[in-house]
Symmetry: C2
Subunit: 409 residues, 2 copies
């Protein structure tokens, strides 16, 4: 018998004991210390390290309620989905996700590679650091994890069993509400709009019927389109970076959904970094340099994604109709249209919904924040309404720059 | 212990014994007789009746291989899917499916209402009988079973668990191959083309790249679009009729797929009845009357489907965005476009694929059959390529009549 034979919510010292007993990482002469370092809404994250060596491990445990509220009940099955997704993505995109050492079904915890020498990308972008290899890495990650889990590549029976295994009803519902519904009607009365923008938001989001019709169509695509195993929460807070390497973490929202959901989230969060720099950087040259890097990165993400997608399709596609003339081009163009739409949704929901991003909330100057938010939402509406005209990276950036001039400082 | 405690393939006398032991249908003084009456490719169907009363039952059993070939291995889980679907559809569309008495997981058999006083609709249509209430019944069935199993009506978490439960990989693969692939490339070399039409079929189907591109798009919709719990094999051989009543049977292909798949199959099979009459009926007035009834029925099926769909949507939709202005109209128009496309696919695959329909194969006159097949395939290509222009029942019929004149007798 071991204390870890049945579920309980671990303390930091439990996590250290767990690591010593269950993981074969540390030597017998180790001296373990442990700390809870989680800052998300849902889970507990323990870092366990040996004071006598450089060995360490991350243990992420899911509770039966969310970390932020006892009232928010949530199945710990999300931890299984996260662990299985990390392993699957690690096979498909080697080196781009942390290594999983063990998934423990009893404790709903996943032990994985410690990435403490990396920085969370959002924090780094808020310091206006640039990552020249990011577009290269993230596009490899997305093309491999998306295209190679789709019916283009997988045997269709095998794919159907993956769809079952990655069914993720509770976390999908969070997205269905927070991304696809509430930003456009506040029907749960929990939007959190920056007060000076409230009337403008009502007019631009809650009262734009053309926009709401497009959002309804997109919501049903998210509800029904089992296209690929998507990460499901691919913002810059789910990415660890350093100068040479990128690691994508936290795929607990993973399920079979539309590919554009991942690509669009990345684009939107790059735009948040851009508006933050635009609103807060005093040194004009540095500001222009950073914004240029973001713009180039947005272009590169779209265009490298497309180029790699076509290459992998050509080399790896197994579906017999995949080689039909014109089909891969058509399929990819749909993904890019979806990307534009989802980028728009993410831009809206982070501005007006309950889950903000620091890129926006850290803008202290009121009129600068007001302008930054309006730029984001105006870009968003263009992306959503005109999504079928987006095909190239440059178009995504051009919309941003056009909208920038609509809102003079 | 009972002999029915573990799986074996029943004989007719086993089925009678099973009915006596496991079902509470017959009295103790009954005298049971039994016969295997199945004529499908996959399963065994026993009719068990009491010689001393009017009581009877149908017992449908699935083997671990298909009835037609020991080499064709197939999970008997299809019997569970069929039984659960019949029960679910019976709740959603009362009176339009046979009553299920018992599903037996051990023997993979389903005991249900005996409909021997009904006729299989395809056989009745081959005798050129008309069923004035059919459009009314089938549209109620389709609207209720499709719309009420979709995200428009169901709680999205509940719907996701239904998607899992109705995952049907093996039977979907049959459709993916026979409907969405082989008719357009014969890549498994098992198409069975009427020889006098072979060159024409090669030109019109195998060598039409524009058509093949549209088919590839449609195949991926079938592979990914978990829209509603569809019947999955809704042709006139899956429908029992009499003058006043309609019963839809055999939903073993059921899974979460595109709504238009069911509606399109019905339309295509009505067209088969039309071309059969056109090719074989000697009495001109009777022929015109029958064809008129089919044409009106096609119109009614589309238009009543649309009217009932809008009514049920208005009364029953639970999804918060369902009332978004214009959304229900847009959603329904997509279903009708899909209907046109699927009608086209079904028309093609029954003409050139391995699973024919008697409406075509029973046309004895060679030039009449040749013409009938060309009418079907030409209509089909219009439905597939121009699917986005189809919105009203009349348009479906107009295409048929236009094509009829392209091929003078």
């Amino acid at each position: 018998m071991s204390k870890f034979d049945k579920y309980f919510l671990m303390s930091p010292s439990d996590a250290a004991e767990y690591a010593a007993e269950k993981l074969s990482i540390f030597c017998c002469d180790c001296e373990l210390d442990s700390k809870e370092i989680g800052d998300g809404n849902l889970n507990y994250v323990f870092r366990v390290w040996d004071k006598n060596s450089d060995k360490s491990v991350i243990i992420k445990q899911a509770g039966f309620t969310a970390r932020i509220s006892e009232d928010f009940k949530l199945s710990p099955d999300r931890n299984r989905i996260e662990a299985e997704t990390l392993r699957f993505q690690g096979d498909l995109a080697p080196g781009l996700v942390p290594v999983v050492y063990k998934y423990d079904d009893t404790l709903s915890c996943c032990s994985m590679e410690d990435l403490s020498d990396y920085t969370i990308m959002r924090q780094a972008l808020l310091q206006h650091k640039i990552f020249p290899k990011f577009a290269e890495h993230i596009t490899t990650f997305m093309v491999n994890t998306l295209l190679l889990t789709s019916d283009v590549f997988l045997n269709h029976q095998e794919k159907k069993s993956l769809v079952k295994s990655y069914t993720n009803p509770e976390l999908c519902e969070i997205t269905e509400d927070l991304v696809y519904t509430e930003p456009f009607n506040d029907y749960k009365h929990r939007n959190d709009v920056f007060l000076p923008n409230l009337d403008w938001v009502k007019k631009e989001l809650y009262n734009d019927n053309e926009l709401k019709l497009e959002v309804a169509k997109l919501k049903f695509d998210f509800l029904t389109n089992a296209q690929a195993l998507i990460h499901g929460d691919l913002h810059t807070g789910s990415i660890f970076v350093n100068e040479n390497s990128t690691k994508i973490i936290d795929p607990e929202f993973a399920f079979y959904g539309p590919m554009g959901y991942d690509v669009g989230n990345i684009i939107a969060n790059m735009i948040f970094a851009w508006v933050n720099a635009d609103a807060t950087m005093d040194n004009e040259e540095e500001c222009i340099n950073f914004k240029n890097w973001v713009e180039n990165t947005i272009c590169e993400i779209i265009d490298k994604f497309k180029a790699k997608f076509m290459k992998v399709w050509k080399e790896e596609a197994k579906e017999v109709l995949a080689k039909t003339p014109g089909f891969s081009q058509w399929y990819l163009s749909q993904v890019i249209h979806d990307t534009a739409a989802v980028a728009g949704l993410e831009l809206c929901r982070r501005i007006v919904g309950m889950a903000h991003v620091k890129d926006i909330t850290s803008i202290e100057n009121e009129s600068a924040r007001l302008r930054a938010e309006r730029i984001c939402i105006t870009v968003a509406k263009g992306y959503i309404k005109n999504r079928e005209s987006y095909l190239f990276g440059e178009q995504f950036v051009n919309t941003l720059k056009e909208v920038e001039y609509e809102f003079p400082r």
